[in-house]
Symmetry: C2
Subunit: 193 residues, 2 copies
């Protein structure tokens, strides 16, 4: 199993996302969590998973120390792309509502990249899932935004929350990628790392 395979590493999760912590815990991994401050700015010529790959690596490089011999740093980034526009985390509740209105009745992509890095090697990989939202009413959008915590989430929603229950007609891809961590690919990459 993965936890035996990774015994030799001391794992560091460079993300304070409770969803990402949950996935590492579910894989029975021991790890510590640190906050990494990186300004999430990327060159304009990047598209799709080039953006999340860039930002996952940027966060990895913003780790505030040299990695020790046995340390393995995990960072990740998630964005939403809808009708050609890239949506990150909303800055306030009004922006959260307008993001949800923008995605209502449409398909959007959720793209998540993960960067694995030791002081010897680095691997970046990504995964994309299509999400089909129903037509959301203003009442539904307002209720969700005012009752839940959309501000720490790319695209202003959590698929594992109320709006994901009532609003998502179908997805194509991994549900966990939408939650911010493509855990099936993480498992595979870690087994081969």
């Amino acid at each position: 199993m993965l936890n035996e395979k990774l015994n030799k590493y001391s794992l560091i999760l460079g993300s304070e996302s409770p969803r990402r912590k949950h996935f590492l815990e579910a894989l029975k991994l021991d790890f510590k969590t640190i906050r990494i401050d990186a300004e999430e700015v990327y060159p304009k010529y990047l598209h799709g998973n080039e953006i999340t790959n860039y930002l996952a690596e940027l966060k990895s490089e913003a780790y505030p120390a040299e990695l020790a011999d046995q340390e393995l740093l995990i960072t990740a980034d998630t964005i939403v792309r809808c009708n050609g526009q890239i949506l990150g985390k909303p800055t306030d509740l009004d922006e959260a509502k307008s993001m949800l209105r923008f995605m209502s009745g449409h398909i959007h992509e959720v793209i998540t990249s993960v960067c694995l890095r030791t002081n010897e090697k680095m691997k970046v990989f990504s995964d994309t899932t299509d999400v089909h939202f129903k037509e959301l009413t203003d009442e539904e959008i307002n209720y969700y935004v005012e009752t839940y915590s959309p501000l720490d989430k790319a695209g202003a929603y959590g698929i594992q929350e109320w709006i994901g229950y009532i609003g998502v007609l179908k997805i194509e891809g991994s549900f966990f990628t939408v939650m911010g961590f493509p855990v099936h690919k993480f498992y595979k990459e870690m087994m081969e790392f």
Copy 2:
């Protein structure tokens, strides 16, 4: 919102599945839970969602009393179809392992039906999701079956558990239908009931 719309009903969930209870709670619904004993046998000429529609209705009709005027009974059934075979709940851990070996590396369908019934009307609806499993190793299958509780789950796995994290490459449809409750369709049907 749905809880206001359904104020007039006294909801009864005819299922002891903790996943189904969770979805009704997440929709902020008040309900009571009862166990319904129905032998899950269906005519051989039924296929796909005809089977789950039949069994969801069978469970509804096995409710051990007349429904009172304001009562609304919710029952559901889930099956897995893989390579033309129907998989229900495994009877023991050996059957759970052989079901998972059977699905390993293949696509299967998870079909869930829900029956809504009052003493005046009844509605049955279903939803289907395709699930793509990676090639699971015997070590992975044995670890999952011996560590988790596959016996109360159609197809011997929970997608929200370890094996869903490491083993599911992608799905097409609703994640919640795979968990045993197509909550997006339930919400829509209840709003119109």
